[in-house]
Symmetry: C2
Subunit: 120 residues, 2 copies
DNA sequence: CAGGATCCGAATCGATACTG
DNA sequence: CAGTATCGATTCGGATCCTG
């Protein structure tokens, strides 16, 4: 493992955090694994996020090329979100974090009764 | 704390993000791997963090039991920070994120020339 | 040496209302 | 349906000065 200016903002770990560290980003990505979803579906899956926040997070994920936004020129409007290849490549990170977090919560008496993709 | 629902803020991935997502937390944890460090040493390793921020992040890491703060009752004051077992257990996450981030940066033309523990 | 205290501007987040 | 626009509350982060 190669050198970089550790102190700088370009540490790989920080770069990763910048990509998925946003308020609802991990949740959005997780929901999109193996699922193409529409805006309204994401709203239902993540009700605590206001439309504004959801839009913002989705736009940032799109800018980072983690997700693909497809607009169908129909009425009523239809927009679908799906993971890009880059988005898919991040799956191992989410899974590693999921496992650690689940262990941690469990050991602290929190019952983890969902796979985080549960709201199905 | 009772069961959680996916949509709630207690998804394991979010719990993990809450623990290591702070401004300099990943960096601090990374530096502490295999190293016990004093406050002043951390300051030199992470010069972009003001003392205030560094203290704040360290306190939060301590509250989450990721690090151990040892105060030696001497003058001048001497305080050492070291990873707890829980802190050590998070290493795989940091490494997974490091690898993904390094690949990403590399593929985007950013030269990653340090191991993030480089400032040695 | 290792911080605490204080001030303040910037950024984030949320609730609500409105639109093509 | 899939967002915008606006406003206000909260939080974050940095600069500066102070202390046991």
């Amino acid at each position: 493992m190669p050198p970089i200016d550790c102190a700088g903002y370009n540490c790989p770990v920080d770069a990763t955090l910048d990509m998925i560290g946003g308020k609802y980003k991990a949740l959005i990505l997780w929901h999109l694994i193996d699922h193409t979803l529409r805006f309204g579906e994401l709203r239902k899956l993540i009700p605590q996020a206001t439309p504004k926040m959801l839009t913002q997070q989705l736009r940032e994920l799109e800018e980072n090329n983690l997700i693909i936004r497809t607009v169908y020129p129909v009425v009523p409007p239809k927009v679908e979100y799906t993971l890009s290849d880059l988005g898919n490549s991040i799956r191992p990170i989410l899974e590693t974090m999921y496992k650690w977090g689940a262990d941690y919560l469990t050991q602290n008496g929190v019952t983890v009764n969902c796979s985080m993709k549960c709201p199905d």
